[in-house]
């Protein structure tokens, strides 16, 4: 069935972004976000934008992220195996900052007095060494009620092999404790994989955000009579109903959508290998896509491990609002402190006094107006502040402003190196896709430093995350730990699990009215004694496939060493209808019709085929693109800017 009216909505901290495709034309919109009235704003605006009731809403949200970062999740308790109640506090027992006089760790999301133990023990082979003593649960339930606990996480050792005890506890909480289904998260459901700390941390985070997401989703469903899907950290969408069981999957909801949107657009323009760079006010998200999305093997949020499939997105505290300063050794530094939204950069004229990256851009005439002129730009105080800073490092005002941008860029470049070179990719083979409020301002200079010769700026760089939600596919993940030596019995065991999981996947896709479903089974394997696994696609000769993968990844393999199966995985991808994008004819022109001042063009008037040589500024409502000397911008058939280094540049 084809949905006729679809809108994508991305709810961020400051703005809510909207994009819809109606009769082949895109409409974009932005409203201010609001903590308590957001659902109503979304409902009203969505029907305005789309001119009627939407049939389908694809939604990205920062609710889970913010609940975790601000420690404003549900009142959550943990129940675990006797002897292990402190797992969340000990972690992997390292400190995050090596050279801190008094190191600190992220505040736990569950206080120690709400961590409870039950006598029971299951062994690594799934056998029950000590039966669960249910009597102790009576007193635990009393304490849960006393503490007004809203959500319970349950992690028992080796529950991924045998979940019986976890399920008994759930049954008890439902029947004797008065808890509802959505108030209980079991580790054997949320992450049936080994390594107890990472599993516990993940299930605790799930329990912590589940009531909030559950409630938010219910409100959305009530306010908007449409089919609602939610963007996940892995770049896929799932139904609002399912997200209530997998709430923590939404922590990278927004940034993941940006990457998905960028990759979709870049592929359309036939650039397979891209690095995305989303520069906002306080942070920058970068991700590398070698023709496909890439995933983080050891993801975390705010220092808390979160082992769900998340895009490999590197976030650093550098953005337009990052503050420039001079350290004791005389080096110019930028960030990590930020002027935030309030007071913001000096040029906003809202009381900011610290020089930010945006101020430096304004001093260099790279930011010449704000929000299409609807907000006044205060240049003189920014100039004064940069002059004060320059006196401390003996450079000219212009060089100081340039320097601030170079230093900010060098921080971003380090993040780009981490996602590219450190993962074994040469950035020179990639196109840099720049978006977010400040991405297109910095893109060419960042590219220059990494010897990247092409930059792509999408048509709507300011609402890329909403755009990503619009084109994202339905992605369902299933996994099961099965730790055993690879032998002749393995294929049968894999098949048995795969049959069950495939049936589940097809049923759920049917509920989502998705027609084309692609199943990708895979297996995590390692050599006996290794600590980390390699994921290889399921095939007839698993051993050979694994040896090959090991050779490719680490440069050697060990044909005589026994191989261990660790996890079975099934990914189901349901293709969603994308808004049609038809290429426009390229009519070579110099963009003169869009010229609004010398070197300044309005992007809205630039047509496919336009070519503009740097140095130039391309202005649009929510974003400015800076094309330096030696670079040339061309508007492609889809209204993207393709900016390339010219031969003698």
């Amino acid at each position: 069935m084809r949905m006729s009216k679809k809108i994508a909505v991305d709810r961020g901290g400051t703005f809510i972004d909207y994009i819809a495709s109606i009769d082949g034309k895109f409409t974009i919109h932005k409203t201010l976000s609001h903590s308590t009235r957001a659902v109503q704003i979304i409902a009203d605006t969505a029907s305005q934008v789309i001119n009627g009731n939407p049939d389908f809403i694809s939604h990205g949200t920062t609710i889970a992220t913010n609940a975790i970062l601000q420690r404003k999740g549900a009142r959550t308790a943990l129940i675990t195996t006797q002897g292990f109640r402190d797992m969340l506090f000990i972690g992997r027992q390292h400190r995050p900052d090596l050279y801190a006089l008094q190191p600190s760790i992220p505040a736990p999301i569950i206080p120690r007095e709400w961590c409870f133990e039950v006598p029971e023990r299951i062994l690594h082979d799934g056998s029950v060494h000590l039966e669960l003593d249910a009597k102790v649960l009576f007193s635990i339930v009393d304490k849960l009620h006393e503490a007004q606990i809203e959500s319970v996480a349950v992690t028992l050792l080796f529950a991924y092999v045998n979940p019986t005890h976890e399920r008994l506890i759930k049954q008890f909480l439902l029947e004797q404790g008065g808890f509802a289904e959505w108030q209980i998260a079991l580790s054997s459901d949320v992450l049936p994989e080994f390594r107890e700390f990472e599993r516990t941390s993940t299930v605790a985070l799930e329990a912590y955000v589940r009531p909030l997401i559950s409630q938010y989703v219910a409100e959305l469903q009530q306010a908007i009579p449409a089919s609602i899907s939610i963007m996940k950290s892995d770049g896929g969408i799932i139904s609002a109903d399912r997200v209530r069981q997998q709430a923590v999957q939404t922590v990278l909801s927004g940034p993941a959508a940006g990457v998905v949107g960028a990759l979709y657009l870049a592929r359309l323009s036939e650039y397979e290998n891209i690095i995305t760079m989303d520069i906002g006010g306080t942070s920058t998200d970068v991700a590398l896509c070698p023709g496909k999305l890439s995933f983080h093997p050891h993801a975390e949020i705010d220092g808390l491990p979160l082992r769900v499939r998340m895009l490999d997105i590197e976030t650093i505290g550098a953005g337009g609002g990052s503050i420039a300063w001079v350290d004791e050794g005389g080096a110019l530094r930028v960030g990590p402190h930020s002027a935030e939204a309030n007071p913001g950069p000096i040029i906003y004229g809202r009381g900011g006094t610290d020089v930010t990256v945006s101020d430096a851009n304004a001093v260099l005439n790279r930011i010449v107006r704000l929000l299409d002129g609807s907000m006044e730009l205060h240049l003189p105080p920014a100039l004064e502040a940069v002059k004060m800073l320059r006196n401390r490092i003996s450079l000219s005002t212009e060089d100081t402003a340039r320097g601030i941008i170079r230093v900010a860029n060098s921080n971003i470049i380090r993040a780009l190196r981490r996602v590219s070179i450190e993962r074994g990719y040469d950035p020179r083979n990639f196109t840099l896709v720049a978006f977010g409020g400040a991405g297109p301002l910095h893109a060419c200079e960042v590219a220059e430093q990494l010897s990247i010769s092409r930059v792509l700026v999408p048509r709507f760089p300011g609402v890329m995350c909403a755009y990503g939600a619009l084109v994202a596919d339905v992605v369902l993940e299933y996994s099961q730990s099965l730790v055993q030596i690879l032998d002749s019995s393995t294929p049968q065991r894999i098949q048995t699990w795969l049959d069950t999981a495939s049936t589940l996947a097809h049923d759920e896709m049917q509920d989502q009215q998705v027609q084309h479903v692609n199943l990708k089974p895979s297996v995590d394997m390692r050599y006996l004694g290794q600590a980390y696994e390699l994921n290889v696609p399921l095939n007839n000769d698993l051993a050979a496939e694994f040896h090959r993968a090991h050779q490719t990844n680490y440069g050697y393999h060990m044909p005589d060493k026994p191989i261990e199966i660790v996890n079975l995985r099934l990914q189901a991808v349901g293709q969603v209808d994308k808004p049609p994008l038809t290429p426009h004819e390229l009519v070579p022109n110099d963009g003169a019709n869009a010229l609004i001042a010398p070197g300044h063009y309005h992007r809205q008037h630039l047509q496919p085929g336009a070519v503009i040589r740097g140095e130039a500024l391309l202005l649009q409502f929510d974003c400015t693109t800076y094309v330096p000397y030696g670079w040339m911008a061309a508007v492609d058939a889809y209204f993207n800017l393709i900016i390339e280094r010219t031969a003698n540049g």
């Binding site: 006797q82 002897g83 292990f84 109640r85 402190d86 506090f89 000990i90 972690g91 992997r92 027992q93 390292h94 400190r95 090596l98 050279y99 801190a100 006089l101 008094q102 190191p103 600190s104 760790i105 062994l123 690594h124 050792l157 080796f158 080994f194 390594r195 107890e196 700390f197 001079v326 350290d327 004791e328 050794g329 005389g330 080096a331 110019l332 530094r333 490092i393 450079l395 340039r402 320097g403 170079r406 230093v407 060098s410 921080n411 470049i413 380090r414 981490r418 070179i421 450190e422 730790v483 004694g529 290794q530 600590a531 980390y532 990844n553 680490y554 440069g555 050697y556 060990m558 060493k561």
Partner: protein, 515 residues
């Protein structure tokens, strides 16, 4: 030309090289000790063996690596492109035998311009006990000794040497995998340095490396300048050498004059019979680490941080022993006590800044034996309480000061080794009281399912981690063996033959209280 901006750009560049080396080493290594616990470090050096960039890995490795490179320069007449040197000998550029260091001279225009180095703790290099941290009385009992040897000479593998090294380990497959991983990290480091020179030119790179050293030196001098001039002494003790119980003093006198600091260990114990003697590279590591703690900024750690600090270690003492004194646990236990001593002295100068003592041990647990017809060795260290300080309570159950290795997951251990973990929890109220409370230690309980040779090297079982400014000391750690229902309190250093059904309880120390 060096300016404030290019300085910052190069700071990032020089850190990214050892970071990339570390990533390769971790991903390619075989042993849980490197891949799960990340017991390894990487750094780069200029032609004069001055450290110009390091990744933040394990403090005790990083400060001691310059000695390896320095020794190399003295040991070899010349290098050829494609050489890679390995060494572990404490008296010739190493620290203790399990830490094997690989160094690659990097050539530009026919001359050595840089060195890239990696160090990894190998879980077994032979010797008298599984895990190579025995209660030894000379270095020959601690494992295979590798003096600086070109394992790759002008690009040609010396396969015989690699075979010799791996044949001396109880887990030779694993050793080979880990050594290969180290060589892969070396290739990465050398390649990235060459790329850096290709992109910017050697002159520019050296100019900026020099400027970064200079900048770190200035910041370190500022920090020392802020310490009131004077002499500050402190003494703390190790609880024996693994052979005999007695208080082994480590004494330090820190003298601050303007922006220079001298850290003098005169008055410390003569070298001892057992395994706690620390070569001076370890001592310098601990001292530099303590000084680095005083800088609250993300200052690049390089040679400039070392220059303003002079370290004096009397020859023949526990902090500068003569060959062939035993050294096995100097990196873990002695290094921690040196840090406690130096910080104790600094606390007299900076009472409002320095926190109380952290747990002061790494609680080394090593065991091995036969299981399913195969030799196995297992090694781990256990976190404990951090000292409280003016900024608040100490962390509980975490690694402190000279190490930062991860734990091994219970679900990983029980699957591979014949042992069951019965409990892994915080020791409530083990931190010292005060205005701010010291962090709690850890209680980790092992049940052996098969006979095993167990070696414990733990400290702070008799002397409590000190409190400061009126804060109470943290609780001592305890090691207990439960056999047939009877509890036997073990020494801090113990070697036991465990039987199936034996239960080993390790309780790690709490941190000192403050105020």
């Amino acid at each position: 030309m060096v300016d404030a901006i290019s300085l910052e750009v190069f700071k990032n560049l020089l850190v990214s090289i050892p970071e990339e080396m570390g990533a390769v080493l971790q991903r390619a290594a075989l042993s849980p000790n490197i891949r799960e616990r990340l017991d390894h470090s990487c750094a780069i050096f200029d032609a004069q063996a001055r450290m110009i960039g390091q990744a933040a890995h394990i403090p005790v490795h990083l400060g001691s690596m310059p000695a390896s490179v320095q020794y190399l320069i003295e040991a070899f007449d010349h290098f050829s492109p494609g050489d890679v040197v390995m060494l572990n000998e404490p008296y010739r550029g190493g620290t203790h035998l399990p830490d094997i260091t690989a160094v690659t001279p990097v050539f530009v225009d026919g001359n050595v311009a840089f060195f890239a180095a990696s160090r990894a703790h190998h879980a077994d290099v032979g010797g008298m006990a599984p895990g190579s941290l025995p209660l030894s009385t000379d270095i020959y009992q601690e494992g295979i000794i590798i003096p600086p040897i070109k394992v790759i000479e002008a690009g040609k593998y010396n396969v015989a040497v690699l075979k010799l090294i791996t044949a001396n380990s109880r887990s030779s497959d694993e050793r080979l995998g880990d050594l290969e991983a180290q060589l892969a990290a070396q290739r990465k480091g050398a390649q990235r340095l060459i790329e850096l020179v290709d992109q910017h030119g050697l002159g520019t790179v050296i100019e900026h490396a020099n400027a970064l050293i200079e900048s770190s030196r200035r910041v370190t001098e500022t920090v020392i300048w802020d310490i009131p001039d004077g002499s500050y002494s402190f003494e703390d003790y190790l609880e024996g050498d693994g052979q005999t119980h007695y208080q082994i003093p480590i004494k330090v006198t820190i003298t601050v004059r303007g922006s220079a600091m001298t850290v003098d260990f005169t008055g410390s114990s003569p070298q001892v019979a057992g395994n706690v003697n620390a070569v001076s590279a370890i001592v310098k590591s601990a001292v530099w680490y303590c000084v680095r703690l005083l800088v609250d900024d993300d200052l690049p750690m390089n040679h400039g941080c070392f220059e303003p600090v002079t370290v004096i270690t009397p020859p023949g003492s526990i902090v500068n022993p003569a060959f062939p004194a035993a050294v096995a646990v100097s990196t873990t236990e002695t290094s921690q006590r040196i840090a406690d001593t130096v910080l104790g002295a600094l606390a007299k100068a900076l009472p409002d800044k320095i926190p109380a003592a952290s747990q002061g041990s790494m609680n080394n647990v090593t065991f091995g034996g036969m299981f399913n017809g195969q030799q196995y060795t297992f090694y781990e260290t256990i976190g404990g309480g951090h000292g409280a300080g003016p900024q608040g309570n100490g962390l509980s159950g975490r690694q402190s000061h000279m190490t930062n290795t991860r734990n091994t997951p219970v679900e990983a251990i029980e699957y591979v080794y014949p042992v069951r973990i019965l409990s892994y929890e915080l020791r409530a109220n083990s931190g010292g009281k005060g205005q701010f409370t010291g962090g709690d230690g850890i209680r980790r309980v092992y049940e052996f399912l098969a006979p095993a040779t167990v070696t414990l090297n733990t400290e702070r079982r008799m002397n409590q981690p000190y409190g400061l400014q009126g804060g109470q000391p943290g609780q001592c750690g305890r090691n207990i063996l439960v056999r047939d229902g009877k509890q036997i309190v073990l020494d801090g250093r113990a070697s036991i033959q465990a039987q199936a059904g034996d239960i080993l309880i390790i309780e790690t120390p709490g941190g000192g209280g403050w105020g």
